[in-house]
């Protein structure tokens, strides 16, 4: 096998095509070493990941310079200014290491610093000193206002009121729904057990090409439900059929749905267990969650008949 060329990790150099050599790392150049804080490998600069101090990884990064924007195709190799094969997207040679990497599991002792058997490679990660601080600061740095909260071990001691993680534990919906209805019907042993708290209802939106489903049990109030629905249906409003690079697409993500709804063009309605269509928001949340069978984001003009005392409500209330 020929020696892989420098800065060639997926065969992106000028001369080579995508062949077998692309899969072999030039181990010497791309040596990953596991190092304790403060140590640096002698022959290369410290590797860092997103190298972002405040955990919100949505700051403009040097990546933009490296990766092509639409239309301008540059080879990756062109974009790296050093000749050493820095095959990660970082130019910031700060010593903050992959913060995201340490976030998800508190390090057990003895893992850092050991040499790794069998692979001839080691990772050089400079672990930030204030790792505990970082762990406690934010659980989910990369996704703002997201329902997916990762429980750390610290949280495990806190009793009952825990946000549910989407899709965890990995149990199929069929099982969840069946168990949920079983438990409401069965005898004494199951009394008082919350069991499979999930209640998937279909959500349709006038004009959208397909339905969505939401689990009402994971929200505690109308605000949370409305945020979640906004997020889900935003892409239907405008812009999902625009291509990247087409002007006018910017900023049409989250604000647009809210605007439309505040403009009373759409209202949120639900079908209760008696089959009647009602406006969302009239009853206390708990009562709503128990009786709601499906949701519909309806065009405002169609919803007039539903308003109690003829007053149209919009999402701005929530």
């Amino acid at each position: 096998m020929s020696t892989p060329l420098e800065h060639d990790y997926i065969g992106l150099t000028d001369n080579s095509s995508m062949d077998k050599t692309s899969s072999s790392l030039n181990f010497k150049e791309t040596e990953l070493r596991l190092g304790l804080p403060g140590c640096e490998s002698p022959d290369r600069k410290p590797v860092s990941f997103f190298s972002n101090k405040d955990l919100n990884i949505n700051v403009c990064s040097p990546l933009k310079n490296l990766v092509t924007s639409v239309g301008a195709k540059r080879g990756f190799s062109d974009a790296i200014d050093e000749s050493s094969s820095k095959w990660i997207f970082s130019v910031n040679d700060g010593s903050q290491a992959g913060i995201g990497t340490t976030l998800f599991s508190p390090r057990g002792e003895g893992n850092v610093g050991k040499s790794l058997v069998g692979l001839e490679t080691q990772t050089n990660i400079n672990v930030p000193k204030n790792i505990n601080e970082i762990l406690h600061q934010s659980v989910k740095p990369v996704h703002e206002k997201n329902k997916q909260v990762v429980g750390t071990n610290e949280d495990a001691n806190a009793p009952a009121a825990k946000t549910q993680i989407v899709g965890w534990p990995p149990i199929r919906s069929f099982r969840k729904n069946t168990m949920a209805s079983n438990l409401t019907k069965s005898n004494d042993e199951a009394e008082g057990k919350p069991g499979f708290e999930c209640l998937y209802v279909k959500v349709s939106m006038d004009g959208a090409p397909y339905l969505r489903k939401v689990d009402l049990k994971i929200y505690n109030n109308y605000m949370e439900l409305s945020s979640a629905l906004e997020k889900m249906f935003t892409c239907f409003i405008i812009g999902q059929f625009n291509s990247p690079g087409v002007p006018g697409k910017d900023g049409l993500s989250e604000s647009s749905l809210r605007d439309l709804l505040h403009g009373s063009e759409y209202v949120l309605t639900y079908e209760d267990k008696d089959g009647d269509w009602m406006l969302v928001g009239d009853v206390p949340w708990g009562m709503f969650a128990d009786s709601c069978r499906r949701l519909r984001i309806m065009k405002g003009s169609e919803a007039i008949g539903l308003a109690p005392r003829g007053i149209e409500k919009s999402w701005s209330q929530y």
């Binding site: 997926i10 899709g167 069929f174």
Partner: protein, 595 residues
């Protein structure tokens, strides 16, 4: 001119070879073998419906009679794949309706089926025999009416765990009186009542019926009369297994009915159980090889009484009500047990359950020498227990452990569970499928990469420290076909460094990880044989910096190029066409109809 056997001889030889793996190997021997094989292959398995186009498949295998297709990524089972993602089967049905009129079998998993698709199946394939929909959705009982009316030769209708819009229970009435060929019927997923008299009549006139799985709406007092119509049953899924109050005459008719089923080997259903009715099963327990009590809310003692009489059990699915003590009983009675699944009865409960712990699993591992396949939900685990299991049960081929709370360490030592899982992969050399949970560092991935050489599918959640973890797996697991990862700190490096590996796999799923949009674009551009799909419901990733991580990423190899039916929240990377691609018309229309 080659020196091989005459074509007719080869054809005859190949006709004995059923497994797709073997046939794939045969087709690589030589051009003539390829040609002979492809013209004689009848059964096709397509693990990813987007990996190849229907036209390509039909062209290559003109004698196609049976097709199996899988659609959505596995994590769709846990609601991680938004609705509308794709997996529409209509284009396949359409293509086959034209070119494969003799098609007999369609088996689908995690695909979107529409009533139109069902109607098209019903009228296009005169000799249609087998329809299996596992975890599918998008259709209603109207579509089933079409199947029932038209498929004169239907043998199997299996809707296992599918989501069916249940508009009416009368679809069963559409099977004509002349229809007698039913062998297998699984309607356990339906929500509403089916027309029971139609069902009973159907059972009565189908002498070859072997499998019947009812839904929970079938009351227990109807079961004896249904069973009396088909005493030859091999596999039964009961309806609800209780009544408001215990009726002795229901019990006695159940006893009579079950005693009459001399071939019954497999039981499931048991939606709601009144334990007083369990003795009706005692006469048949000794013949049982498969028992699914995973929806039955019954105490350990009742379960044990039942299982104690089932010495020939090969497969057992239960809820954690069985407790450690019940599993010890299993270990003592069921010496032939091959597969154990223990599901959680109350996954949202945060307290430790001292009744079902790692000890139960250790007992079964020790007591059941043939145990191969494990799915186990529990709240605590130790490295010691995992090591013990690994050493005593090296014949494990499927090991899925779900410790309910993410990041849970070894409860005895508070260490990560790296060494325990390490022992599993080290000792169980034939391990094909593994699901990890608990507190895990990069170390566990090092072990996996080093030892798990036969591993084909790996599921990872809330584990690892760095890209090294992902790198170990991608570079070490030679037989890896499916990798699914959620909530792990894996980013661009390992993915890009192992890009070529991805072409040797069926698919990779990563959600809530740290892969940047820029890396996805790069991968998509540089790897034309991969479809790199970014799923992001918060809007076009182009509106954010390239360094931003994507919500979800699904990468799969494909010779069909980028797919054409993506919804607004899925983008294919590296696809040069600037237009957002069209939606599958049928899929869209179907959804409208569902509103």
């Amino acid at each position: 001119m080659d020196h091989s056997f005459p074509q007719k001889v080869l054809e005859h030889l190949f006709s004995f070879i059923d497994s797709n793996k073997d046939r794939n190997a045969i087709s690589l021997v030589s051009k003539s073998w390829y040609e002979i094989e492809r013209r004689s292959r009848k059964k096709i398995f397509i693990g990813n419906c987007y990996a190849v186009s229907p036209t390509t498949v039909i062209k290559r295998f003109p004698e196609l009679r049976s097709i199996t297709l899988k659609g959505k990524p596995h994590f769709a089972d846990f609601n991680l794949v938004p609705d509308g993602w794709g997996g529409y089967v209509y284009t396949w049905i359409e293509a086959m309706a034209v070119s494969v009129p003799l098609l007999e079998e369609i088996r689908l998993k995690r695909m979107v089926v529409t009533d139109e698709s069902l109607e098209l199946i019903a009228k296009s394939f005169k000799n249609f025999k087998v329809l299996v929909f596992i975890s599918c959705d998008g259709f209603s009982t109207d579509g089933l009416e079409a199947i029932a009316s038209n498929c004169r030769n239907l043998k199997e209708l299996n809707l296992q765990e599918s989501e069916v819009e249940d508009l009416s229970g009368d679809w069963l009435c559409y099977f004509p009186d002349s229809y007698t060929s039913l062998v297998s019927l699984n309607i356990s997923c339906l929500n509403n009542e089916v027309n029971l008299s139609a069902l009973e009549a159907l059972l009565g006139r189908c002498p070859n019926l072997q499998t019947l799985c009812l839904n929970h709406a079938v009351p227990l007092d109807k079961l004896p009369s249904l069973l009396s119509q088909c005493p030859q049953l091999v596999e039964l899924g009961t309806g609800v297994y209780s009544t408001e109050e215990m009726h002795p005459d229901v019990l006695s008719s159940l006893i009579t009915a079950f005693s009459g089923c001399k071939q019954l080997k497999s039981l499931s259903g048991f939606w709601n159980v009144l334990p007083s009715y369990l003795p009706a099963l005692y006469p048949i327990c000794s013949r049982l090889t498969s028992l699914n009590l995973s929806y039955a809310i019954i105490q350990s003692s009742d379960i044990v009484k039942l299982i104690g009489q089932c010495p020939n059990l090969l497969r057992l699915w239960v809820l954690d009500y069985i407790e450690d003590v019940g599993l010890e009983a299993v270990a003592a009675s069921c010496k032939d047990l091959q597969e154990l699944r223990v599901f959680p009865s109350d996954p949202s409960c945060l307290e430790l359950n001292n009744a079902l712990t790692e000890r139960g699993l250790v007992s079964v591992s020790k007591g059941c020498p043939k145990l191969q396949s494990v799915l186990y939900f529990c709240r605590q685990m130790s490295n010691a227990a995992l090591s013990a299991i690994a050493q005593i049960r090296p014949n494990l081929t499927r090991f899925r452990l779900c410790i309910l709370e993410p990041h849970t360490p070894d409860y005895l030592t508070l260490q990560p569970l790296d060494s325990g899982f390490g022992a599993i992969v080290e000792h169980c050399k034939d391990l094909q499928r593994l699901s990890l949970s608990g507190l895990l560092t990069d170390r566990v991935f090092e072990y996996i990469g080093t030892h798990a050489k036969k591993l084909e599918m790996l599921s990872v959640a809330f584990a690892g420290d760095s890209d090294l973890g992902l790198h170990y797996v991608l570079s070490g697991c030679e037989n890896l076909r499916k990798l699914e990862i959620r909530d792990c700190p894996f980013g661009d490096e390992a993915l890009l460094a192992n890009a070529a590996k991805l072409e040797t796999m069926r698919s990779l799923w990563m959600s809530s990880c740290s892969v940047s949009y820029g890396a996805c674009k790069l991968l998509g551009q540089k790897m034309p044989k991969l479809n790199v799909e970014v799923i992001d419901e918060s809007g076009p990733p182009d509106s954010r910096p390239d360094s931003c991580p994507v919500e979800k990423l699904y990468i799969y190899r494909s010779i069909a190029g980028p797919r054409l039916d993506m919804p607004g929240f899925v983008w294919t990377m590296g696809d040069d066409s600037s237009r957002k691609l069209e939606l599958d018309v049928a899929g869209v229309e179907a959804q409208f109809r569902n509103l």
